[in-house]
């Protein structure tokens, strides 16, 4: 499976990914429409892009009381089926990474669906911080990638 990986040593919080994703979702540049969120934490000097990690055992999927979250077998993406979503926000509470957001216009939860295998955020990441990469063991890899992502944060913190 391929994942969007995030290199915190390359992200500059230029927000091209946010605008690209927002455009894909709504045709506009409203940041709140984006499924990827990037923040510069000035006090700790961290550039942190965050989007769904498509967990192997996705708790959001398991606890969705509307069965509105499914796994796309082709891309491995954990997706929200908007037509089924009731807007209860249980998935937002379930996600430990804060990667599910709420669409206040349609009153449904929104998250990354890997753009069916061609993520727009990656295509518009001008720094190379975001990559869409193939890996053999999806489960292990999912964790490893996040681990690396985290290690790089720790590096910055300890410097």
């Amino acid at each position: 499976m391929r994942f969007i990986t995030m290199d915190v040593k390359k992200c500059v919080v230029c927000r091209n990914c946010e605008y690209a994703c927002a455009f894909r979702q709504s045709g506009n540049f409203r940041r709140e429409d984006s499924n990827i969120r990037v923040e510069y934490h000035n006090d700790v000097k961290i550039c942190l892009p965050q989007t769904c990690l498509h967990c192997e055992d996705a708790w959001c999927l398991e606890i969705c009381p509307a069965a509105a979250i499914v796994k796309d077998e082709d891309t491995g993406a954990i997706e929200i089926v908007s037509e089924r979503c009731i807007g209860c926000k249980m998935c937002m509470l379930a996600c430990p990474f804060g990667n599910i957001h709420f669409d206040k216009i349609n009153m449904v939860s929104r998250k990354c669906n890997l753009c069916k295998g061609d993520p727009n955020c990656v295509a518009h990441c001008i720094s190379g911080a975001l990559q869409y990469t193939t890996v053999q063991d999806s489960c292990l890899n999912n964790r490893e990638i996040f681990h690396r992502f985290i290690e790089s944060i720790l590096d910055i913190n300890t410097e």
């Binding site: 040593k9 500059v12 230029c14 045709g27 409203r30 000035n42 295509a123 518009h124 001008i126 720094s127």
Partner: protein
């Protein structure tokens, strides 16, 4: 639409452009595009695009036919030139329509019709840096970030202004590289810097000289390069001795110890040091010499034309479209060439700030006609009020643009133009030494390319012999003659055709491209022109003689992610995200002034006042006492209060990045009911 020139795929459905994506094979952007790139779709299909010629009449704009417009314009040009002389006509090239061929064609056209008066945005942007480097090294080399051990981004924010540099900077850093960012503001690129050096506006020369002093003191310099390939090292090294870390701290605000450690970091990584000099350096009263001081570091580090350093790429030797050797017109007194001879002699640029004076005073001679293509000086030149007055004084003002810009509103004729997707033009990426040809994808009835427009107009003016090519393809083929590059081969390589393999340290056999064939720590040429021999440091006015009435120093023109200079404000989704101009202020200044984000303030310089909303930025994002305003906005147009008479004596660049201002909470005019 932007000079970064990414490789793109353009998707067409039913004759319309519907999507633009990055071209994966392209070495420059590797398939990535910033969101500006995708805006190309909107640019071509914009509902507010001008598709019909407009003529100013007493009752407003009148739509007229293209032929009629060209005929009338040709007649008026003839009248002006016969009455006031050929040099009373001028052209002004902007960046909204085309690239380098467009520039060359305008230079060709104006000479063809007998006037030397070619103006462009370049007398306020880019050329200052080019000249600063060219004086020292003969050219402005390209940064070889991919192989660099130390990338220095000086007064620039590539993620917004040159997105693709960002990829190569970080790719290069992966292998134990360092990124040093020197800037007034904590820009996007600065967030990732290993060293972020926050400096006072306009004091960069002092820092460069201080680093040079330390490199020499530590003897981390390339003696072989200095001994064999440079001139003036002794005088230069004596001069830089004055710039002790303590003095540099006083001038720049950068701590003395930091200056030393910075020099050691850079010196330790030579020669794989790449330095990119940004636009923040050139719009100053001592800009050229500050840039020269930075350029001189290349001579010490030996990174000039070195892999991983500042690589002096070979350029394709296109046939020259300009007529400067065929039909030189220097004797006709190009506007500004007397005051800024270096600007004209080195770059053949007339001086736009002087042009405004000429238009208003008819001195040194009347300037009566102008064709301006894809530029918007009302927003981008200093002292906008004067710009408006001056352009209104023209007898004939023709504007070619895609949209009704603030400048087009002043025109006698507004002519529809073609976007880059409606034209075929060469593009080079010097760092990879590749060339490619963009294709004409679509066309719109009545929207001529600049080439076709100039050709038709030249024909009507009896100068058709200068534009013998029937279309863009013929022109492009002509340009390639004698270069050894085959047109068909370029076409077959949309990802870029390598026209020559990269070679390093070419100066060892060929010398440097300067007059002396050496690296010029000092410039006899400048001395002969009456300027400083050395890259002399002169502190900016706000430091030298502070005016208590204007306690803040204002920087302008920091780039925003999807705005290119004055453009893209007509795209709704851009306005949704970044809706207006704002003045960036340090939290402590905001507190003193009793203002917060979103409050309106009045900003006043000696030129005038504007009202503008406040943005209080993070503590480390800007220094107290320093503020920043991005230009290019119709409302809160910051150039209304930028002086046009405080120019760098060498290149004539206007002071736009260290302007003394005062900031006051805006006085609300109470309504009667209150």
């Amino acid at each position: 639409m932007c000079d970064n020139r990414c490789g793109i795929n353009v998707f067409v459905e039913n004759g319309s452009i519907v999507e633009i994506t990055g071209l994966k094979e392209h070495k420059w952007n590797n398939g990535r595009l910033c969101v500006k790139g995708r805006l190309g779709v909107d640019l071509v299909n914009a509902p507010d695009r001008i598709l019909t010629p407009l003529k100013r009449t007493e009752s407003g704009w009148q739509e007229i036919g293209l032929e009629q417009a060209y005929d009338e314009i040709a007649e008026k040009i003839k009248t002006i030139q016969s009455r006031w002389g050929e040099r009373a006509m001028s052209v002004w090239k902007g960046e909204a329509l085309g690239f380098l061929t467009q520039e060359a064609l305008y230079r060709r056209f104006i000479h063809a019709v007998g006037s030397p008066n070619y103006f462009s945005n370049d007398s306020g942007c880019y050329v200052g840096r080019w000249m600063g480097y060219a004086i020292v090294t003969g050219d402005w080399a390209t940064q070889d970030f991919l192989y660099s051990k130390c990338a220095i981004i000086w007064a620039s924010n590539p993620p917004y202004s040159q997105p693709n540099l960002t990829q190569s900077i970080f790719k290069g850093r992966e292998k134990d590289g360092k990124l040093i960012v020197i800037d007034v503001r904590l820009s996007a690129i600065a967030r990732q810097a290993d060293e972020f050096v926050q400096i006072l506006p306009g004091t960069d020369g002092a820092l460069a000289l201080g680093i040079a002093r330390q490199l020499i003191e530590d003897d981390t310099i390339d003696h072989s390069f200095i001994d064999n390939h440079s001139v003036g090292f002794i005088e230069y090294s004596l001069y830089v001795r004055e710039f002790t870390p303590e003095r540099v701290e006083k001038e720049t605000g950068v701590a003395a110890a930091r200056v030393v450690s910075l020099a050691r970091e850079i010196g330790g990584r030579r020669p794989k040091v790449s330095i990119y000099a940004g636009n923040g350096l050139e719009q100053h009263e001592n800009g050229i010499n500050n840039i020269r001081a930075i350029a001189c570091l290349d001579g010490l580090l030996g990174n000039f034309d070195h892999q991983g350093g500042n690589f002096n790429a070979e350029k394709p030797k296109f046939r020259d479209l300009t007529l400067y050797s065929e039909k030189p017109l220097r004797h006709l007194g190009p506007i500004g060439a007397d005051k800024y001879p270096v600007l004209y002699d080195v770059r053949q640029e007339c001086h736009t700030m002087t042009a405004m004076d000429t238009l208003l005073t008819e001195k040194p001679y009347p300037l009566k006609g102008m064709i301006l293509a894809g530029a918007n000086p009302v927003l981008t030149n200093p002292n906008s009020g004067k710009v408006v007055k001056a352009l209104k004084a023209l007898d004939l003002f023709v504007v070619r643009d895609l949209f009704m810009t603030e400048t087009a509103e002043l025109a006698d004729y507004v002519l529809p133009a073609a976007t880059f997707l409606e034209n075929s033009e060469f593009h080079c990426h010097p760092i990879h030494q590749t060339i490619s040809l963009s294709k004409k994808i679509v066309s719109f009835q009545g929207c001529d390319t600049e080439f076709i427009f100039l050709k038709k107009l030249a024909e009507k003016l009896g100068k058709g012999e200068y534009f013998p090519w029937k279309d863009a393809e013929e022109l492009n083929r002509w340009m390639l003659q004698g270069t050894g590059i085959k047109y068909e081969e370029v076409l077959a390589h949309p990802e870029g055709l390598e026209y020559a393999p990269r070679r390093y340290q070419k100066y060892k056999e060929e010398g440097l491209p300067t007059k002396s064939r050496k690296f010029e720590f000092v410039s006899e040429y400048l001395r002969d022109c009456g300027y400083s021999y050395l890259p002399e440091y002169i502190a900016p006015a706000y430091v030298r003689s502070p005016n208590p009435e204007y306690p803040f120093v204002m920087v302008t023109g920091a780039r925003k992610v999807f705005y290119t200079h004055g453009r893209n404000r007509n795209f709704k989704r851009c306005i949704t995200a970044i809706p207006h101009a704002e003045i960036e202020i340090h939290p402590s200044d905001a507190e003193t002034l009793g203002i917060g984000t979103g409050d309106m303030v009045t900003v006043t310089s000696v030129v005038g006042s504007i009202n503008i909303p406040v943005k209080v930025v993070g503590n480390s994002e800007i220094l107290p006492g320093v503020t920043q305003v991005t230009h290019g906005w119709r409302e809160s147009n910051i150039n209304l209060i930028i002086p046009d008479d405080r120019n760098d004596p060498v290149d004539g660049f206007p002071l736009m990045k260290a302007v003394e201002v005062k900031i006051e909470p805006m006085v609300k005019h109470e309504t009667e009911n209150e």
